[in-house]
Structure formats: structure tokens, C-alpha cells
Amino acid sequence: MFSRAYKTAVTVPPLAWVAVFLLFPYALMFCYSFWSVTPAQTILHSWSLDNYKELFQKSVYWQTLLRSMWIATRVMLFSLLLGYPLAYFLSFYSGKRKDLLYQMVIIPLWVSYLVRAYAWKTILGSDGVLNTLLQYVHLTSHPMDFLLYSPFAVVLTVTHIYTPFTILPIYASLEHIPRNLVEASHDLGATPAQTFWKVIFPLSIPGVVAGATFAFVLSLGDFLAPLLLGGPSGIMISNIVVSLFGAAYNWPLGAAISLGMLVIVISLLFLSERLEKRWSFS
């Protein structure tokens, strides 16, 4: 039905743009990762694996990467623990309030990252709201330092920010479950709890996988929360990259790490896609 001209007009501009502004930059990053930087702070276009060697050999990079993955894992787990029951409640138990509550879930998503991270900073500091509150009601006698500038603060803040991201896909997959399956399960003698574990949960797994992936991937690459709240012990891999593109001026090394992150992320996305397919039954 559509003419050649139509098809070309509709395909070429976005393709071209994406090629120039997405594909090419990634390719560029790929190239950079094999180059090196001279002491005079210019880029040397000589191809070598030096950057990667350095990444594998120097422990600071490994340690930071592992710490970042551990933080990301915790964020993922907490987001799921907080988010799944909420999504379930919203889908099956919210009755007339469903619309309103759903809006309440998506609103935090679109409120600035900065606003939310900043909010936690003011709450967790030693002069912050939480500490002074606790002292005021005499639950503690002096401020708790570990609240801020620690991995704890990063995990807390990032969980806060990405939980709605986790709730949405889980909610969507729960909504897709035909309600007559739940009735059929009850009809056959299963209690609501049995019905949940035998019917509802298995059918919601694609949503869980999607939500978990978002939470993990996005937290892994986060650099803002660590900068604001992480302190020296909360540095994540992206912070290293940021400094390599800033004061520590080593673009090639930074590109190598970024590429590594890109590879990890893409692999996780593929993995999650396969898991979702395996667990989808419609």
C-alpha cells in the first residue's frame, strides 16, 4: 500500500540520524578504547590493548566494578521486594482507587533525579532531618555518620529513584493475566495464597525480569548519586570514568571502561530478553 517514496521518506531520516548520533559515537568509543594519551594530554591514535591490560591488572578497577555490581544487585533486590507487592496490590486489590494509585506510582518517575537525590542528602546528613529528628526525640544522642557519604546512602537513594521503574513492568504483566484464571484456580480449590504462587507469580515473571534488569542496569551506570552521597567509600565505576574524562584526563582509558560497561549492559539486556521469552506463555 505504501509507495517506495513514502517508505524511503519515513525510514531514511531516522536511520541516518541514529547512525550518526548513536551508532557512530559507539564505534568511536570503541576506537578510542584502543588508543592512548600522551603526557602532553593529546590523543595518540596508535592501536593497542594497553588500556584493557591496565583494566585487568589494576585492582582498583576490579574492586570498584565489583562494588558497583554489588550496589546494583542490592538496589535490584530492594526494588523488587518493595515493588512487587505494591504492583500486586495495585493490580488485584486496589478496586476503585486503581487509577489514582497508578498515577502516584508514575509521578516520582518523572520528577527530577536531582530533586530526589538532593532530598535524601538533606535527610541523611549529620545535621540532616533524620539525625536531628532522632536526637530531638532522644532516640539517639549523637548523629549517625554512616547515613551519608557511604554505600548505604547510595543504595538507599538509588533504590528510591528506581523502584517505580521496577513497579511498572511488573504491574503491566500482572494486568495481562486474565482474571478468569484466578477464578478458575479458586474454583478448583486453591486458596488465594496458593493461587498466587501457582498461577499469578509464574505468569508475572517476564515483568519481574524486565523490572529487575532496569533497576540493575541503571544503578550500575549511575554516577550522580555516588557523587552526591557516596563519599570515598561509595565510589562507583562510572565515577572513575567521569574523572578520566575530567581531571584525570585519559579519554582512551575512560572509553575502555565505558565500552566494558556497554558490553555488560547489552549482555544483560539480551539475557533478560531470553528469560522473558522463555517465561511468556501467550
Binding site: 507487592p85 496490590f89 502516584m104 520528577v111 532530598a119 524486565a210
Partner: protein, 285 residues
């Protein structure tokens, strides 16, 4: 279930534990923001319980702050321009994904969606390297290009979802009656996509206004609002930042609620977020 007999949804069952948990999570999500807003009225500073001396001073200072206004203006310019770019590319992208088979389609689809799930740092840095190759200096322009690129996926997914609901026969009828493709596009396709396009525009605008991760690497001399705030955070915190945050929150809130209502109007059940976070499905062409 026969519709007429049981159009009425049976009353939702109750579960106290789930309701408690849900309330707790909502509390977790909203309390920090509530605290933030509360302390924007606090005369004593950003922390310290209980808040003393409630005042509007910080808001007054905020409104007199020229640097903030400059940053707001910059952000607005960037947001509008990014909106135009994303729509101008996202709408054709959605059409292409819906109707055209072309080599590399699967790759294209994934590539378009990648910036949405990829940490902003990777998108930002790769674009930085690109601009470094050219004579283009880092500036509002580079930020605009960055936002525009990253947000194409928002436009594409919203419009794609709208296309699924579009009756193909309408376009065929238009062609049958003598209109060419361009005319059909403007007279039939676009009006039917009005709601998804407006929805996408709102979202892109809001996301661009709040964007910081990608902008972080592409910034030149002029700050966008988030980056201006960021700069101040590094220097020292005053409740003025609370005040501006509260206002940002208010605007985001209004925009999103408005967007959600729009969506409700355009479809029976808003499946918000799912198309946004899932690749559009292949349809046979």
C-alpha cells in the same frame, strides 16, 4: 464471561498486609519530597529538626536569582528544540517500524531504544567523543542534540502504540479518494495520532527539563537548570535549592497528571510505561 451479565467488576478483595506494605512504599517514595518541600520554608537551613521560623524568604531569593532564571531560560530552549527533533525523527521512526521492512530493522529498533535503558553516562560520553571530532563546541546546541537523540525513543514508542490503534482502512480510503501520501499523512494519520503525539511531546519536554546525566558531559558555557543546581550543590547548600526543587516538583507533577489524563482519553486502559520500556513488537508488513 458474557459481557452484559457481568459488566460489573466484582468488588476487589481486601488484604490488610498488602495495603500496609503499599502505604509504606508510597511513604518511602513521597516522604523525602515532602520533607524537601517543608524545609523550603525553613528559616534555619536545609536540615535540623524541627523546622523553625517558617518563611517565604527562600522563594523570594529564588525569584531574584538571575543565574537561575538564565538557566531556566536555557532549559526551556533546549527542551523545546529537543521536543521538535525527537518528534520529527520519532514519528517517521514509528511509521517505519510499523510499516516498512528494511535491512537492519531489528538493529535499528534496539538502537533507538537503547538510550532509554542505557546509563546516561554512556550516551553522554559517546556523544562527547563525536562532538570532539568536529568543530562543534560544547554548548546548548550539543545538549539539545543529545536530548533530541536520547528521547527519540519516547516519541517512537508513544506514536507506535498509537499506530496500532489506527484503522488502516482510513488511510486506504483517503488514498482511494485521490489524496496522495503526503496529504494523507497530514489529513488523516497525524490527526489520529494527535493524542499520542501530544503525550510524547509533554513527556519529552519534562524529561529534557530534568535531564542531567547526558547533559553533564555536553555542557558548554551556559547551564541548564539541573546543571545550575548541581553546581550550587557542590558549593554549598541553602534552602533556596529546596525552593527551586519544590517548584520543579510541582511542575513535573502537573505535567505528568495532565499527560496521564490525555492517555486515559486516548485508550481504554493506559498501559503506560510498558511500551516505553519494551521494544515495539514486529508487525507483518
Amino acid at each position: 464471561m458474557t459481557l452484559a451479565d457481568s459488566q460489573q467488576r466484582p468488588t476487589a478483595p481486601r488484604s490488610t498486609w498488602l495495603a500496609l506494605h503499599a502505604s509504606a512504599v508510597f511513604g518511602f517514595l513521597y516522604l523525602p519530597i515532602a520533607v524537601l518541600i517543608l524545609y523550603s520554608f525553613n528559616g534555619q537551613g536545609v536540615g535540623g529538626f524541627p523546622p523553625h521560623h517558617l518563611t517565604l524568604d527562600w522563594y523570594r531569593i529564588l525569584f531574584a536569582d538571575a543565574a537561575i532564571w538564565d538557566a531556566v531560560l536555557n532549559s526551556l530552549q533546549v527542551a523545546f528544540a529537543a521536543m521538535v527533533i525527537s518528534l520529527a525523527l520519532g514519528i517517521p521512526a514509528a511509521l517505519a517500524l510499523d510499516r516498512v521492512q528494511f535491512p537492519g530493522k531489528a538493529l535499528f529498533r534496539r538502537l533507538v531504544l537503547l538510550p532509554l535503558i542505557l546509563p546516561g553516562i554512556i550516551t553522554g560520553l559517546s556523544l562527547l567523543m563525536l562532538f570532539n571530532l568536529t568543530i562543534v563546541k560544547l554548548s546548548l546546541l550539543t545538549i539539545t542534540l543529545g536530548h533530541g537523540t536520547a528521547l527519540i525513543s519516547v516519541a517512537a514508542t508513544e506514536v507506535f502504540a498509537g499506530l496500532q490503534k489506527l484503522d488502516r482502512a482510513q488511510e486506504e480510503a483517503s488514498l482511494d479518494l485521490g489524496a496522495n501520501y503526503w496529504q494523507t499523512f497530514w489529513r488523516i494519520t497525524v490527526p489520529n495520532l494527535k493524542l499520542p503525539i501530544i503525550g510524547a511531546a509533554l513527556l519529552i519536554f519534562t524529561l529534557s527539563m530534568d535531564e542531567i546525566a547526558v547533559s553533564f558531559f555536553l555542557i558548554g558555557r551556559d547551564n541548564t537548570l539541573p546543571l545550575e543546581i548541581w553546581g550550587r550543590l557542590r558549593r554549598g547548600i541553602t534552602p533556596e535549592i529546596n525552593a527551586v526543587s519544590a517548584i520543579i516538583f510541582l511542575f513535573s507533577l502537573l505535567t505528568i497528571v495532565f499527560w496521564y489524563r490525555l492517555r486515559l482519553r486516548s485508550q481504554s486502559a493506559p498501559d503506560v510505561g510498558m511500551e516505553l520500556l519494551d521494544p515495539p513488537h514486529e508487525t507483518s508488513t
